[in-house]
């Protein structure tokens, strides 16, 4: 049984300017007893404010909001990459993520090698990762391109590969960021079928996007993020 539960989660994180990354300024601060707190160059961003919700099996959530509303931060908090500043995040289930294009790929290595490497970084053994290859070959339709280094791929092809690897072992929780819509029509159809399979297997799916028609076709719940506040809206109100 998969679930994600957010209980009054707030997330603040510092953006270090060149000054904040410096050891000298940090030591100076310690040396002065911390009383002179000149933190003007370290901006603290509040990305999520008191967010509470509960996702259970079968939930397919569309995450909407304008640029910088906190969608990507929200996904990373769900994945357990960002720790909440206050509140509690409870996550159960094997999680797969597709956030940034090219993350974790080695551009000098072939597609085949990258399949193995990505799989192994997600915790599969070598033979398990190897066993996924035929399925990924079939799904990505990249054919002989899989023998070439990733640097020769277009972003759509890279996307195909990443999505195929992330979903090759049916995850219990799948988190997707919007850039996933770079694929062509054929890929969209295939990925849609796979996402529906995951949702049908009573798993959790969260998808951040600006494309309302995509959200309507995948999702049964919609969260709107605005300045870190989360509000659940009904599918019908989407335009």
């Amino acid at each position: 049984m998969a679930k994600i539960e957010f209980d009054n989660v707030s997330l603040r994180y510092p953006i270090y300017g060149s000054h904040g990354m410096s050891l000298r300024s940090h030591l100076m601060r310690v040396a002065t007893g911390g009383s002179i707190e000149q933190d003007s160059r370290t901006t603290v961003i509040t990305a999520l404010k008191d967010v509470s919700f509960m996702l259970k099996d079968g939930d397919a959530v569309g995450l909407i909001g304008h640029n910088g509303a906190g969608k990507s931060t929200m996904l990373r908090t769900m994945a357990g990459i960002y720790p909440p500043s206050t509140g509690k995040v409870i996550r159960q289930g094997k999680t797969a993520t597709v956030f940034e294009i090219g993350a974790g790929l080695d551009y000098e290595l072939s597609g085949y090698d990258n399949i193995i490497h990505l799989g192994m970084m997600m915790g599969l053994s070598y033979s398990e990762a190897k066993a996924l290859t035929p399925d990924i070959e079939e799904f990505t339709e990249l054919g002989d391109f899989l023998q070439l280094p990733i640097r020769t791929y277009s972003s759509g092809m890279t996307m195909r590969l990443m999505f195929a690897v992330a979903t090759a072992v049916t995850p219990e929780i799948l988190l997707l960021d919007e850039m996933f819509s770079t694929g062509d029509a054929g890929f969209k159809e295939k990925s849609q079928a796979r996402i529906h399979k995951i949702i049908d297997a009573a798993k959790i799916f969260v998808f951040a996007s600006h494309d309302m028609s995509l959200i309507k076709s995948y999702c049964n719940r919609v969260f709107r993020l605005e300045h870190g506040h989360l509000e659940e809206v009904t599918l019908e109100t989407l335009t």
Binding site: M21, P83, E100, G104, D106, E108, L109, M120
Partner: protein
């Protein structure tokens, strides 16, 4: 546990990928080191009027062990920073990246061991059962290097000066480490060498192989370093490590 295996496999793949399309492959740095040993032996051995039969093996082991230590020190601060895309996108524990990098340096070290074996055969260094005492030494060195790597990685991700600081200090450490010379044959004015923790690491590996007496405190100091340093690293990781994704 399977993640450890994966880290080692990936380290091996990293090594292979780096030397793809080159004929000698991972033996390139080995060749570089061999040239280094030969060059330094000729110059320093002659300058210091050394007996080549003892000097060359001693230099070779010292240099190869130093390569391992300095490699870890130099790569340490960027250990996590360089894996930023991965850390920001997949929830992989931090130690995975640190072990992967350490494994890569150990693989390099094993390649370099070929030089040591070759030189030991050439100068017919006597091998006894006691030679095997270098194994626990190497184990202690490896464990110590792990926490150093993890600690430098965290600190280097948070404070970007660490990288430059370390690359400034390492060349100086070369001179106060017993690489060209043996630490037990120093004039008393150079006791400074024993303040350098890496001296114990090099001697713990080299002394058993060449069969000379080890500084009596070596084991205590290396074990103490492991406990204190390992503990501090664990504490840092527990308290601040969760913020790693914000730092990189």
């Amino acid at each position: 546990m399977s993640l450890v295996q994966n880290a080692i496999y990936l380290a091996w793949a990293d090594t292979k990928a780096r030397y793809k399309k080159s004929v000698l492959g991972p033996f390139w740095p080995t060749l570089t080191n061999l040239l280094g040993v030969v060059g330094l032996s000729l110059v320093w051995g002659t300058l210091m009027n050394q007996d080549m039969h003892t000097f060359v093996p001693q230099l070779a082991i010292g240099l190869v062990t130093w390569q391992l230590i300095s490699g870890v020190l130099m790569d340490g601060p960027t250990c996590f920073a360089r894996q930023a895309p991965m850390i920001r996108n997949v929830a992989v524990p931090a130690w995975f990246f640190a072990s992967r990098l350490l494994a890569r340096h150990l693989i390099n070290f094993l390649h370099n061991a070929a030089i040591v074996i070759g030189i030991m055969v050439f100068y017919s260094v006597r091998v006894t059962v006691e030679t095997l005492l270098f194994l626990p030494g190497l184990l202690l060195v490896t464990l110590n290097l792990y926490w150093i790597l993890h600690m430098l990685g965290l600190a280097g991700a948070r404070f970007r000066d660490i990288e430059h600081l370390v690359s400034g200090i390492v060349p100086m450490l070369f001179f106060i480490s017993p690489i060209i010379y043996r630490a037990d044959r120093l004039p008393s004015g150079l006791n400074l060498v024993w303040l350098n923790p890496f001296s114990y690491m090099i001697e713990a590996v080299r002394a058993p192989i060449l069969g000379y007496a080890l500084h009596p405190d070596t084991w205590i100091i290396l074990t103490g370093m492991l406990l204190v340093g390992g503990g501090l690293t664990w504490l840092y990781q527990e308290r601040q490590g969760k913020n790693l994704a914000f730092w990189v």
